[in-house]
């Protein structure tokens, strides 16, 4: 097991290196640069700026510099916001995004799993129909539309909930629902189809033939088996929710780090693009690894050498 973990960590580092390299060359392939503006800078000023940030060196050299910094945990200075480093962006934005994301994950799990289970057990009945209708709406309607509708209804019309700000726990309600709507619907559908499939397995018939009640059959024999695909999806979902969403943070005016995913690209803020991507990628590979470790706990058939 220790060897396996070591091997996986090594693989993760290689993946990250590949991701950084690819993003690095891709972003340099986009026309323009951090100092391209409508009002052109005098050539001397631009040259001085380029020199200051080492942008006059060859691309491989720049990449080397960046990787060296990365090893020391330094994501570099922002090209667009003088005096700010990418580490500052993350230090400021991540706690906000992570708290919202954490609450959203809890909400999604507590709602999606029971809904999916009820829908599966009441397959074809109205409970199933209602859940699946809601879930289809949740998967198909984009989060910004959901957010807008929620804001219009609960904030503007009814005045029950604040339109922005996270000062009180009440402020979290709308962003959490808007942010988690998609994952909630997706996971509920997945839970339902997975449980339905498990309920059709031979060992469920065996469990029933033993004289177990339906509830005990589901709890003791079906749920653990049905959770395996759900856990697979949970890894990337957790990574995505914790690192924030541009749209939701924009709509609810939240100071999270989601905005950097988009603005850094339009700004050609090279270090920020790389830094935010690396941060997200680290989350993603770590979560995937955690999911793989979870499999071992759940499924005795899976063993890692």
């Amino acid at each position: 097991m220790a060897r396996y973990i070591l091997k996986r960590v090594g693989m993760m580092l290689i993946s990250l290196l590949l991701i950084v390299t690819m993003v690095f060359f891709l972003m340099h392939a986009i026309p323009g640069g951090p100092f391209t503006a409508q009002r052109e800078l005098p050539p001397e000023v631009e040259a001085a700026l380029m020199a200051k940030y080492n942008l006059d060196e060859s691309l491989p050299t720049q990449l080397g510099h960046y990787l060296l910094g990365l090893l020391q945990g330094d994501l570099g200075p922002s090209f667009k916001y003088p005096g700010m480093s990418v580490n500052d962006f993350i230090r400021e934005g991540f706690p906000v995004s992570a708290k919202l994301g954490g609450i959203t994950i809890l909400f999604v799990l507590l709602a999606a799993l029971p809904l999916g289970i009820v829908a599966a057990l009441k397959n074809g009945k109205w409970q199933d129909g209602m859940t699946m209708l809601l879930a289809t709406i949740g998967v198909t309607i984009p989060s910004f539309v959901i957010a807008t509708i929620l804001l219009y209804l609960f904030s503007h019309k009814l005045g029950w909930l604040p339109a922005y700000g996270l000062d009180s726990l009440v402020g979290y309600i709308l962003p959490v629902v808007a942010l988690g709507g998609y994952s909630l619907s997706f996971l509920a559908r997945l839970m339902r189809s997975s449980l339905l499939e498990v309920m059709g397995q031979d060992y469920i018939r065996t469990a029933r033939s033993k004289g177990l009640s339906q509830t005990k059959v589901v709890i003791r024999h079906a749920l653990r088996n049905a959770l395996i695909p759900v856990i697979t999806i949970l890894g990337p979902t957790v990574a995505a929710l914790l690192t924030g969403s541009f749209v939701i943070e924009k709509i609810f005016a939240l100071p999270g780090m989601g905005k950097h995913f988009v603005t850094s690209i339009t700004n050609r803020d090279y270090t920020t693009i790389l830094g935010i991507t690396v941060f997200y990628a680290v989350f993603l590979v770590v979560m995937t690894f955690v999911v793989d470790l979870f499999y071992v706990l759940i499924d005795p058939r899976i063993k890692y050498e």
Partner: protein, 339 residues
């Protein structure tokens, strides 16, 4: 002797997109205490559905639409779900075709057997574990204490079926339903399992209902046989009588399609022509008539009734009707004067 199980006019149907399909169309049989009854038939003949109907373990689309299932004199079809749960496992237990998929992959095998005791016997934990180890020994799983903690994927097919049998026997049921218990196993393992089942039946005195598509398997363990086709019992007979003198064209066909070791190689096997009936659109009259070599005009019009012509034997075939001609009648060779 008292009937342990008596099935009367059992009908089971399934809701499908093409409407209701009747998979079992009025099956009657009875099973004595300690007797082994074989049910043989092709896929789709209704043999598995019959057994699942007895325990009311049909998938949700299935439904018993008529008849009675008397077990120890009580009609199981009238039991509510809770009463039924006390019958399942405790009085009637079941083993299934595929031991690979019939055990929960995430639970150690010992625990799965122990669960049966937990449900019905509720004794102390240590006593239950002891009984599981004893059961493992009885079904000849080597090194029970070590195997107790193993997971199904660490077992071979034959070993898994032994676990299933240990589980089925845990609460000393009076009836064991074995639905194709050896079909998914290697031939040598098949034989071991059959020998084991036969021994356990002698030790415990339980009755066994053995479902198989393989006449050879039935011949090895059963006292009596039902031959099913198209959801009906075509012939029922004591095992030796059936092999000596099959009294239904379908049974005859089955026998002729079994290769024998000492058979003349130049002689070709005689398979039954055609394929089993489409149950969503069953043939009118006798379900076997489109494939029957001896079919007559009445066979396509009316379902024959079951003729009892000898002690313990019935056959559902128009050829046995008293008015049927005896010339070129394969069923009236020996019994023409006996009917």
């Amino acid at each position: 002797m008292a009937d342990l199980l008596k099935v009367e006019g059992l009908r089971t149907s399934f809701a499908t997109q093409d409407g209701r399909i009747e998979a079992v169309k009025g099956v009657d049989f009875s099973l004595n205490q300690g007797e082994t009854l074989g049910i043989v038939g092709e896929s789709g003949s209704g043999k598995s559905v019959t057994s699942l109907s007895i325990l009311r373990l049909l998938p949700s689309a299935g439904q018993i639409s008529g008849g009675r299932v008397l077990f120890g004199g009580q009609d199981l079809a009238s039991f509510d779900e809770k009463a039924m749960r006390q019958v399942r496992g405790a009085q009637i237990s079941m083993i299934f075709q595929d031991p690979m998929s019939s055990l929960n992959p995430l639970i150690p095998v010992g625990k799965q057997v122990e669960e049966m005791l937990q449900i019905h016997w509720k004794t102390e934990k240590a006593a239950m574990k002891k009984r599981v180890l004893h059961l493992f020994e009885r079904v000849r799983i080597p090194d029970p204490a070590a195997r107790y903690r193993c997971y199904p994927h660490e077992f071979s097919g034959g070993m898994r079926q032994r676990v299933m049998i240990a589980m089925a026997l845990a609460c000393e049921p009076s009836l064991l339903i074995a639905d194709e218990p050896t079909t998914a196993l290697d031939v040598t393992v098949q034989d071991q399992i059959l020998v084991l089942l036969r021994e356990l039946r002698q030790e415990t005195g339980m009755a066994v209902m053995m479902i198989s598509h393989d006449l050879g398997v039935i011949a090895e363990v059963c006292d009596r046989v039902l031959v099913m086709y198209g959801g009906m019992v075509m012939e029922s007979a004591p095992i030796d009588a059936l092999f000596e003198n099959p009294m239904h064209p379908y049974t005859l066909g089955l026998m002729e399609s079994i290769p024998a070791l000492d058979q003349d190689r130049s002689k070709e096997l005689q398979p039954i022509p055609g394929s089993p009936p489409d149950m969503s659109n069953p043939p009118k009259g006798c379900p076997f008539h489109p494939r029957c070599l001896h079919a007559r005009s009445i066979c396509a019009q009316q379902i024959p009734s079951s003729f009892a012509f000898e002690e313990g034997r019935t056959s559902r075939c128009w050829l046995l009707h008293p008015d049927a001609p005896s010339t070129s009648n394969p069923l009236k060779k020996g019994v023409s004067h006996g009917v």
